[in-house]
């Protein structure tokens, strides 16, 4: 049982929670995720750790309501308890000094990107963050992202904020203007697929953080499997980050529809 100590709406369907989890707060690194479950009949849902506070012993998660289980979590309030929180899971992001790094986050993917942006900056990289969302209200965490970025480029599908266009337009703008050494992308699978296709064209090494369907999150079931470089990998233990150019995004997109 983990207590919710803070809740904030980033938009109508995107909520930030701060949750008591002292052991996880201590051991987590950028790129790690947790699995949480609400209620005895609840589903186990993977969520990235967006931040942690060692003195308070809390972790921050940002969650978008997309279906029944994520909605159930979003409906919780300060003082409520989350039945189970387990983690940190997955491999941490490999952080080093690459040079110039584009961090391309789409929608709720901006939240898990935040700790990576911070770590990349601390490692001495020039960080250019490209944030994308359908519309102005869905651009989250811009201020926090700006704190650790050398530049923030915002893209909206409808042009209500920042530049009008897709995330790929924003990335291409940067590529055309300067040398880019690495691209990290987190967001909907379809978005990551197109980011990957773009950076492949320009030969820029790219890491994608995959959000497959999971059950246990500890390598026990194989629900999360994807094909990377022709081999089957388990996202929860081998990932969640992989060389985007080797990921079979079409297969991943197909598998995400397993229960629709």
């Amino acid at each position: 049982m983990n207590k919710i100590v803070d809740k904030e709406y980033f938009s109508e369907n995107v909520v930030k929670f701060e949750v008591e989890a002292p052991l996880i707060a201590k051991s987590r690194k950028a790129g790690h995720f947790v699995i949480i479950r609400v209620g005895e009949k609840g589903e186990r849902i993977p969520l990235t750790i967006a931040a942690s506070d060692l003195t308070k012993g809390t972790i921050t998660i940002v969650i978008q309501a997309v279906g029944a289980s994520s909605r159930k979590i979003c409906d919780l309030n300060v003082g409520d308890y989350i039945t189970d929180v387990v983690g940190p899971l997955g491999q941490a992001t490999h952080i080093e000094k690459y040079g110039t790094v584009i961090c391309a986050g789409g929608g709720v993917g901006i939240a898990p990107m935040l700790p990576i942006i911070e770590a990349m900056k601390r490692a001495g990289n020039k960080v250019i963050s490209v944030l994308a969302a359908r519309t102005k209200d869905l651009v989250i965490l811009e201020k926090q992202v700006a704190e650790y970025s050398d530049e923030v480029i915002v893209m909206t599908d409808d042009g209500t904020y920042g530049h009008k266009g897709l995330i790929t337009n924003g990335i291409e703008m940067v590529i055309n203007r300067e040398q880019v050494d690495l691209c990290v992308t987190i967001g909907p699978a379809i978005m990551m697929k197109f980011v990957s296709l773009l950076t492949q064209k320009y030969n820029i090494p790219t890491i994608a953080s995959l959000n497959t369907i999971m059950v246990d999150g500890t390598g026990m079931c194989g629900a999360c499997r994807v094909t990377v470089g022709g081999k089957t990998k388990f996202v929860c233990v081998d990932g969640p980050e992989f060389n985007a150019h080797e990921v079979d995004f079409d297969e991943m997109l197909m598998r995400l529809r397993a229960y629709n």
Binding site: L23, E43, C221, T232
Partner: protein
């Protein structure tokens, strides 16, 4: 006293001498083996949680117990990995002292109600019974009797909490709450240690909870055993992954003086054939975890599970039988076992195969999948099977299946459950620096003490053996407890 002398001493107790004289050996030997009452096959193939085996009545148990000849040299015991005093508990049943029988079981086994249900008796204790060895008759139903005594004790509400030594204040950590971890904890708690069990999942019990279905092993039975451990002072911490949430170093910092690793064989194997990542193709671990741990077939549960109509299970071990029978219970019209060898080589317990057949499970032996094909949405639609024949014996001593050239067949399926074995959970091997790991990923330990290359780390169960059995895992736990106690007391 040697083991043999101890067995003899108990055998010479007056009541047992008396009991032996009560009935002629011939009369005992002429009795037919008892039949386990079970749910009707058609009925049970639609009910997920009701246990198939109903258990012996007291009369049946006493009658069966009298078959046991109380041998001077009870060979049955050689077949039991934890050395249960088999004639001793059976004779207590014969004389009607069922609680005493349960106590005898508890001397050496932490989970008799579990083992009585899931041990492969036909390969272990019962295989060594004099009836089958010398008399060419069906062995004494040791497993059924074990289950009877343990159930009787539980239902009587008079569960004996073992006597505990004075607490010695020494903290011991256990990684994993499956049978190896539970039996280790029980023995160490008895010796006065301060035990904390860390479990990665939200439920305690390991495979007993997330793997083996309730129609074979009700959760309630496992919970009763876990509660006994709780009453003995064992602490359970769920949602805590050793190596991730807390590290080896953290455990030291917190003052743990010994660690028993019982993290099991969690990693499912796939066959790496085309189409294996289609929707509807999954591991037996995924399928069983959804149904058993997450209760996914219950409409109130948030976790989904696919309920296929034409379901093929690849493999023929206990896990495969559990998966195929579960698929049937979830409403499959055709639930099929696809296995590359013949029925004789099937690793599953004989009783499960028998039950599966009664429930209408189809068996396609000497068939091996080579590819899957899906529809336009990526859902599996059919599988190509290669027909096999048996060739020369392979390394496992079983005849090797070889493909019959050109003999293939398509099967229509909408769900495929791959149950071709598991590999050891890699988490502890990869995060405890200094362990010696085999090429199969198991932790290498001293066979007599279960001690690893890290002096304070012991290991047992599937993480040491690969996929094995409940009773072997428990045996490892007991062995490790005895050795760790000795080492700590110097």
């Amino acid at each position: 006293m040697t083991e043999q002398e101890y067995i003899q001493a108990r055998r010479s107790e007056a009541w047992r001498e008396e009991l032996r004289k009560n009935m002629k050996a011939k009369e005992r030997g002429d009795r037919p083996r008892v039949h386990m009452p079970e749910l009707d096959a058609e009925y049970r193939s639609h009910t997920l949680k009701e246990e198939v085996n109903l258990g012996l009545s007291a009369e049946q148990a006493v009658y069966e117990a009298a078959r046991c000849l109380d041998c001077a040299n009870p060979t049955c015991m050689e077949g039991c990995p934890v050395n249960i005093q088999i004639p001793s508990f059976i004779k207590n049943i014969e004389r009607g002292n069922f609680l005493e029988a349960a106590k005898v079981l508890k001397e050496t086994s932490a989970l008799p109600a579990v083992c009585g249900r899931v041990c492969p008796q036909e390969k272990q204790c019962e295989a060594k019974c004099i009836y089958i060895q010398k008399m060419k008759k069906e062995p004494v139903a040791i497993g059924y009797l074990e289950r009877f005594a343990a159930d009787y004790e539980r239902e009587s509400g008079q569960i004996a909490i073992p006597e505990l030594a004075q607490p010695n204040g020494i903290k011991i950590a256990v990684v994993g709450s499956g049978p190896a971890g539970l039996s280790f904890s029980g023995d160490m708690a008895k010796l006065g240690y301060d035990i904390t069990v860390f479990e990665a999942l939200h439920e305690i019990g390991g495979v007993l909870k997330y793997g083996i279905p309730e129609f074979r092993l009700p959760n309630e039975i496992v919970d009763v055993e876990i509660n006994v451990l709780r009453q003995m002072g064992v602490k359970f911490i769920n949602n805590c992954i050793v190596g991730k949430t807390i590290t080896y170093e953290d455990l030291h910092e917190e003052g743990f003086k010994g660690i028993f690793v019982a993290s099991g064989a969690g990693l499912p194997n796939f066959m790496n054939i085309p189409g294996e990542n289609l929707i509807g193709v999954m591991s037996s671990n995924e399928f069983l975890t959804r149904v058993n741990l997450m209760d996914a077939s219950n409409p109130e549960s948030d976790t989904p599970v696919q309920k296929g109509k034409k379901v093929a299970i690849v493999g023929a071990g206990n896990t495969a039988m559990d998966a195929v029978r579960t698929a049937k219970r979830l409403g499959a019209e055709r639930a099929m076992i696809v296995y590359r060898r013949s029925e004789e080589e099937m690793p599953a317990r004989i009783e499960e195969v028998k039950h599966a057949k009664e429930e209408g499970i189809e068996f396609h032996t000497l068939h091996n999948p080579v590819r899957y094909e899906g529809d336009e949405n990526g859902r599996v639609q059919r599988m190509l099977l290669q027909k096999m024949e048996l060739g020369e014996p392979d390394a496992s001593g079983r005849r090797k299946p070889v493909p019959i050239e050109g003999a293939t067949e398509w099967f229509d399926v909408d769900e495929v459950i791959v149950s071709v074995g598991v590999s050891p959970n890699p988490l502890i091997p990869s995060t405890f620096k200094g362990l010696q790991i085999s090429k199969w990923g198991t932790i290498i330990v001293n066979q007599d003490t279960m001690q690893s290359d890290l002096a304070d780390v012991y290991a047992g169960g599937d993480i040491v053996r690969g996929g094995a059995t409940v009773i072997l895992a428990m045996g490892d736990g007991r062995k490790a407890a005895a050795a760790m106690d000795k080492a700590l007391k110097g």
